[in-house]
């Protein structure tokens, strides 16, 4: 009897185990099509350098456990990738995961290219500042992406030259203008900085700091306020400085610009938290001579900044494993090991708040070794980022900016007119496409 009893026990135990595995298999199978992770091989389009190494960590760690393998396909950055995603999506062949800048999300969502992953990544919300997270929801209940990196605006200046010319680090834009004029008087061949029309993101960030909300919705209609009072204030301020010759009007990222920074002909730069990387290549000889301060304010009592750049990880509607893809997106941007690797391999400034002052961010960037509290300060500044409001044709507004403000900067003419053109062209494009537009 003991034998038979044991036999039965074993048998039922086996049955039980089999049953549960079958059940579990059933469970995962039924949900697989929708959300549950399973054996999946996913492609990820990104321009972040070193992302393959970060993805290796996933493929060897959590990914191996869940049998989700990610393959990185390196892409060109920014707008070029948006076009490529939209084209691939038209053919129903977009990759599972894509990197997208925040301002591109409405365009992608409007083309129905991004999946709502709120069910899978809703928990991640707590890791990010509200202003950052809100950019991935577009003000709806859906979540279209997980924030990866951010680019809060700051003020960079040559500490030594500021001292030499007796300039005070400006805390308001009025002081900034004063500093520009004072420098021009003291050294006519030098400029405090330049107004560059070849990167619309900086201007958008400056407008954001001033309180502009370029695209908002009410009901079934978009409201475009690119030439609102706040943006006009920003445009007139910079236009005025260019017109009176207090600052330069040549574009950034040219060999001439590199040289101006490297030789101290331009002694300050309004830029984002990623500036150390750019300065390292643009002005290698001035390493250790720069310092970072918060962005000047419009009102001394305020403490706000805008952002320039920053991107997120999104899952496409073409993906057959949206749940698995979302799981990876959440891991990549909230897991401390992943964020550490992202900082180390890719040099990005994480959107996740707890990562901004840990791991790789305990020490200042090598270029700013003289400023020990660089990243503590940066995290404080990042927290003051004003909310931004993007619309479905940011690309049109941005290209119009480049042409209209490029011409205005060249001719030292009215920036207000250029801003109006930006508004008009953006609205005209939306109307042409058929969007509901309130004016």
């Amino acid at each position: 009897m003991p034998y038979a009893k044991r036999h039965r026990l074993v048998r039922s135990a086996v049955a039980l185990v089999l049953g549960t595995t079958a059940l579990a298999a059933c469970g995962s199978e039924s949900a697989d099509s929708e959300t549950e992770a399973g054996p999946a091989s996913l492609t990820y389009w990104t321009w972040t350098p070193g992302m393959d190494k970060v993805v290796d960590l996933w493929n060897k760690g959590p990914g191996k456990k869940d049998r989700i393998t990610i393959t990185v396909k390196k892409q060109a950055s920014g707008d070029t990738l948006v076009t490529k995603i939209l084209t691939a999506h038209k053919a129903g062949k977009a990759p599972d995961l894509v990197q997208a800048e925040y301002q591109a999300l409405p365009t992608l969502v409007s083309n129905d290219a991004l999946a709502d992953i709120s069910e899978n990544v809703g928990d991640a919300k707590g890791s990010f500042a509200d202003g950052v997270w809100q950019q991935t929801t577009l003000g709806t209940d859906a979540v279209y992406a997980v924030p990866q990196d951010i680019g809060p605006l700051m003020f960079y200046y040559r500490e030594d030259l500021f001292e030499e010319y007796g300039l005070k680090v400006p805390t308001t834009w009025d002081q900034f203008a004063e500093a520009a004029r004072k420098l021009k008087k003291a050294a006519p061949d030098k400029d405090l900085t330049t107004f560059s029309a070849n990167d619309s993101g900086l201007f958008a960030g400056l407008a954001q700091q001033a309180g502009a909300k370029w695209w908002t919705t009410s009901g079934d209609q978009w409201k475009v306020s690119i030439d609102d009072a706040a943006t006009q204030k920003v445009a007139k301020f910079w236009g005025g400085l260019v017109e009176e010759g207090a600052i330069d009007n040549q574009p950034m990222y040219t060999p001439a610009w590199n040289k101006a920074l490297n030789t101290g002909r331009q002694i300050a730069w309004v830029s984002a938290v990623w500036a150390p990387g750019t300065l390292t290549t643009a002005a290698p000889e001035t390493k250790g001579k720069w310092a970072m301060a918060p962005l000047p304010q419009w009102d001394a009592s305020e403490n706000r900044t805008g952002s320039w750049g920053g991107s997120s990880t999104a899952v496409t509607t073409d993906s057959k494993h949206q749940g698995a893809a979302a799981k990876f997106a959440a891991w990549l941007n909230t897991d401390s090991e992943a964020l550490n690797a992202l900082a180390k391999e890719s040099g990005i400034y994480p959107a996740a708040q707890n990562a901004q002052t840990s791991g790789a961010f305990l020490k200042p960037p090598a270029y700013f070794s003289n400023q020990a509290d660089f990243y503590t300060k940066a995290a404080d500044i990042a927290e003051t980022t004003a909310p931004s409001a993007w619309g479905p044709n940011v690309n049109v507004a941005y290209t119009t900016f480049k042409d209209a403000f490029g011409a205005a900067a060249k001719n030292k003419s009215d920036f207000g007119a250029a801003l109006k053109k930006m508004q008009d062209d953006t609205v005209a494009d939306m109307k042409k496409q058929g969007f509901g537009v309130a004016r």
């Binding site: 939209l86 409007s110 978009w222 040219t254 060999p255 290209t399 011409a407 060249k410 058929g434 969007f435």
Partner: protein
């Protein structure tokens, strides 16, 4: 026996078509089909409803001639065309003039080091257009250019080459530098094909080298000149590389500086494939009309001359 003969003749009749099949398929797949698709796209447009968020908010609908009327009334496209024509008025005569001059000089009897000189003049053509534009772009920027350094030392005026009128010269210079060699080779090759007896006869008649060049060589290479002119005009209308590469360096080159740049911006900057397709079709038709019109006129003149 009879049936075999019939089959053979039948097979022989079919053979040419069989040989044509690969070419026809390739032509259809990679030439006719894309053009047809571009035409199809140009008659359609995207219609968004409401906020345009979520699925189904965006539909592709028939647009008729709307994209075409928009393109033809677009002042930017017109201005781009005018800019490119202005540039062409500088490039084409200068480049072909230089190419002809170099070819004649190389062909003259007194020339030394001909192979080396020929290679030296041709070499810039081997450099990709984008690289050439980048290279010259650096040389045009006052802060990094050695030319400006020299001008500065000599106390000479330093013009801004990336602005206003000089911009056209700057762009033309890149094209002339890169294209002269190729055109020179084309003209030089046809110069070499002129039979030596013609020169001998001219010399016996007492013609000087200059007279030989003007009265014999140039008329005899006229067909090559027509060909190079034809190529240059098309290249001018399709101008894209140089201004696109110089654009980041200056505020003077807009994203719609040349017609093709506008097509590129609309398609890939603003995501409007449909109006970009319509503009591309218009540019292609204009180029075809212009170049075939020119070829026709040139042929007619040649026939008239032959008849004389």
């Amino acid at each position: 026996m009879k049936s075999t003969a019939r089959r053979q003749s039948y097979g022989a009749k079919r053979a040419p078509y069989a040989f044509l099949i690969p070419a026809t398929i390739l032509f259809a797949l990679f030439f006719a089909l894309p053009i047809g698709y571009a035409l199809w796209l140009s008659f359609r447009k995207v219609k968004v409803s409401g906020l345009g968020l979520g699925s189904g908010a965006r539909k592709e609908v028939w647009a008729g001639l709307e994209n075409y009327t928009d393109a033809l009334t677009d002042s930017e496209l017109l201005h781009g065309t005018l800019r490119v024509l202005g540039y062409g008025c500088i490039v084409v005569p200068v480049m072909l003039g230089l190419a002809l001059l170099f070819a004649l000089m190389l062909d003259s009897e007194k020339v030394r080091l001909a192979p080396f000189t020929r290679l030296a003049i041709f070499l810039p053509y081997a450099i990709p257009g984008v690289v050439a534009a980048l290279l010259w772009g650096f040389l045009y920027l006052p802060d990094v250019s050695p030319f400006y350094f020299v001008l500065d030392r000599l106390g000479l005026p330093q013009p801004d080459l990336l602005d206003g009128g000089p911009l056209y010269l700057a762009l033309s210079n890149i094209a002339v530098w890169g294209g002269t060699g190729f055109n020179m080779i084309v003209i030089y090759t046809s110069l070499r094909a002129i039979p030596a007896e013609v020169y001998e006869a001219a010399k016996l008649d007492g013609a000087t080298p200059t007279q030989i060049a003007l009265r014999i060589k140039i008329p005899m290479v006229a067909p090559s000149l027509v060909l190079t002119f034809f190529f240059s005009v098309i290249a001018t209308l399709q101008m894209f590389n140089e201004p696109t590469t110089l654009k980041p360096l200056t505020n003077s080159v807009s994203t719609t500086w040349s017609p093709l740049m506008k097509v590129y911006r609309d398609a890939f900057g603003e995501g409007d494939l449909h109006s970009a397709a319509a503009q591309a079709v218009i540019i292609a038709v204009a180029t075809l009309l212009l170049s075939f019109g020119f070829l026709r006129a040139a042929n007619r003149r040649q026939k008239q001359e032959a008849a004389r």
